[in-house]
Amino acid sequence: MKKEYICIACPVGCHLVLEEKSKDDIKVTGNRCSRGESYAREEYSEPKRTVTATCSADNGRIPVKTNRPILKEHIDSLLKEIYSINIDTLVERGDVIIKNYADTGVDVVATGSSAGKIKS
């Protein structure tokens, strides 16, 4: 099993090659520093991303984000859930919108407040 990645740890953008000979024998080459190695290993075994989106609110959109990176395989269903929500109360920055999504331990939090956006 061989996989190629471009490292995003810094602007150099090393071309990394990860080779898995067996479960305990995974080798990363092409990296100029140790950050490249850990990046390739994480991208290979459990790639994660921070997801940002907006929820609909009574008057306008509320920006939200996951409070930590979430496994890529959850992203599509998470987005569907975020888009299905309509916020009809006042929300402050940091308020939790979805708690512990699909038992991943990841919360979705508001990154903006709805002050002035909600009709009285």
Partner: protein
């Protein structure tokens, strides 16, 4: 007409304006921000993705969070804010007092009089006219930043089948946003042989979704009568369009991410000298423009790639405005020039009395590059840079001691080059 008096008037309430105003207020002078939107924050408010604030707040924030942190500080300080107010013109100074003519649906027409002014109006996107794409003029063509506003603030999806011209960061971010909003992004077309956005965005916004990036390709025609229906894409060979290899991509929306230019309307009208290389105002080592007491910072001065650098530069501009108000800006100014492989250097003057902070952009892509600072051909500093490319801004600072090596030179001229 109503008149207001301040020590410092800041035009624009985005990242730059807020940082500059806080710096002035902190020193006991009275600052005002004039902002045309109904919220402070500027472009950050529509940048709902994360990646902001790693330098400033030591954590990764989204744009609205970064803006929120600063607007909370503004409202906790004594800075006066006029929202929904547009500065129409910077009038001629009356003695040492500058006059800003403003109008607003809330406050009517009014004049802000101030001893100093900080320009913080940000930048604009280049549009179809700037790159001259041939073809018809149907609906469905817009800048990536406009689409970003429509999707993230207003909640509209501008189209379903998307092609993006230019691989600037806003275009890449929008490729992911449109995909996450249920649209299909068919391609990103880039005229240069290398991407103009940062690697992280290429990986996370394109590769994650298998969106093809066509390097050294141009959009050679826009087709469609009422709504855009397709674009013709032509590869470049040695910089010349290889027309036989033209292919067509169907789409209903074309997003343009083809660069940003400082917002110069007010500055130009105010008779402020502009720098043809960086395209913002020409500034001295204090970030002061050609008009006494008028400073510039943030994207109106030159386009930054990180908001954290905007904040840093704007604090400097605010601190220098304070020194100006105390009549403490006295250092003699000397010329700064861009050397080989450097597109521009900001500021365009330096002095021997303060720490000098320079920002520059490379014209080349190179690993293991060297940044050289020379004064009249005497090498005073050489910095190793692992990697340079046009989309990554480079910063170089010089200490007083480093400059002191050459104080005896006649008519000193500082040159920064990349080799």
């Amino acid at each position: 007409m109503k008149e207001y008096f301040f020590d410092c008037a800041v035009i624009g309430g985005g990242a730059a304006g807020m940082a500059a105003a806080l710096e002035v207020e902190k020193s006991g002078f009275r600052a005002v921000i004039v902002e045309r939107e109904n919220t402070l924050g500027g472009i950050l408010l529509q940048c709902i993705h994360n990646g902001f604030g790693l330098h400033e707040f030591k954590e990764e924030l989204s744009g609205p969070e970064y803006a929120g942190n600063f607007s909370e500080m503004i409202y906790a300080s004594g800075v006066k804010v006029f929202l929904e107010s547009t500065v129409m013109e910077i009038g001629e100074a009356q003695g040492k007092i500058h006059e800003l003519y403003c109008y607003s649906a809330v406050y009517g027409v009014f004049t802000v009089k101030a001893k100093s002014v900080i320009l913080a109006m940000g930048c604009r996107e280049r549009n179809r006219g700037n790159i001259g794409i041939p073809g018809t003029r149907p609906a469905g063509i817009m800048t990536a930043g406009l689409a970003q506003r429509l999707v993230n603030i207003d909640g509209y999806i501008p189209g379903k089948e998307i092609v993006i011209v230019g691989s600037g960061d806003i275009g890449l971010i929008m490729a992911r946003r449109m995909t996450w909003s249920g649209c299909k992004v068919h391609a990103v077309i880039e005229i240069q042989p290398y991407p103009s956005g940062i690697t992280r965005n290429i990986v996370q916004c394109l590769e994650d979704f298998s969106i093809p990036l066509y390097l050294s390709h141009i959009v050679s025609s826009i087709n469609g009568k009422d709504r855009i229906e397709s674009v013709d894409v032509t590869p470049l060979r040695d910089g010349i369009a290889d027309e036989e290899k033209t292919f067509r991509i169907g789409c209903d929306t074309l997003l343009l991410s083809v660069g940003l230019v400082p917002e110069n309307e007010l500055s130009r009208k105010a008779g402020i000298r502009l720098n043809p290389q960086g395209s913002g105002p020409f500034v001295d080592s204090y970030l002061m423009t050609s008009r006494d007491g008028i400073f510039a910072c943030g994207n109106v001065l030159h386009v930054h790639d990180l908001v954290d650098f905007v904040t840093k530069e704007s604090r400097t501009a605010g601190a220098n405005a304070v020194k100006y108000l105390k009549s403490a800006l006295s250092a003699r100014q000397y010329k700064v020039v861009s050397g080989s492989n450097v597109r521009y250097v900001v500021p365009q003057k330096f002095n021997f009395e303060d720490v000098s902070q320079f920002y520059l952009r490379s014209m080349i892509v190179k690993n293991d590059a060297q940044i050289e600072v020379k004064i009249n051909n005497h090498l005073i500093k050489s910095v190793k840079q692992n990697h340079v490319q046009p989309s990554e801004m480079i910063s170089v600072s010089l200490k007083k001691e480093e400059l002191a090596k050459v104080t005896s030179v006649n008519d000193p001229e500082l040159e920064i080059s990349i080799i």
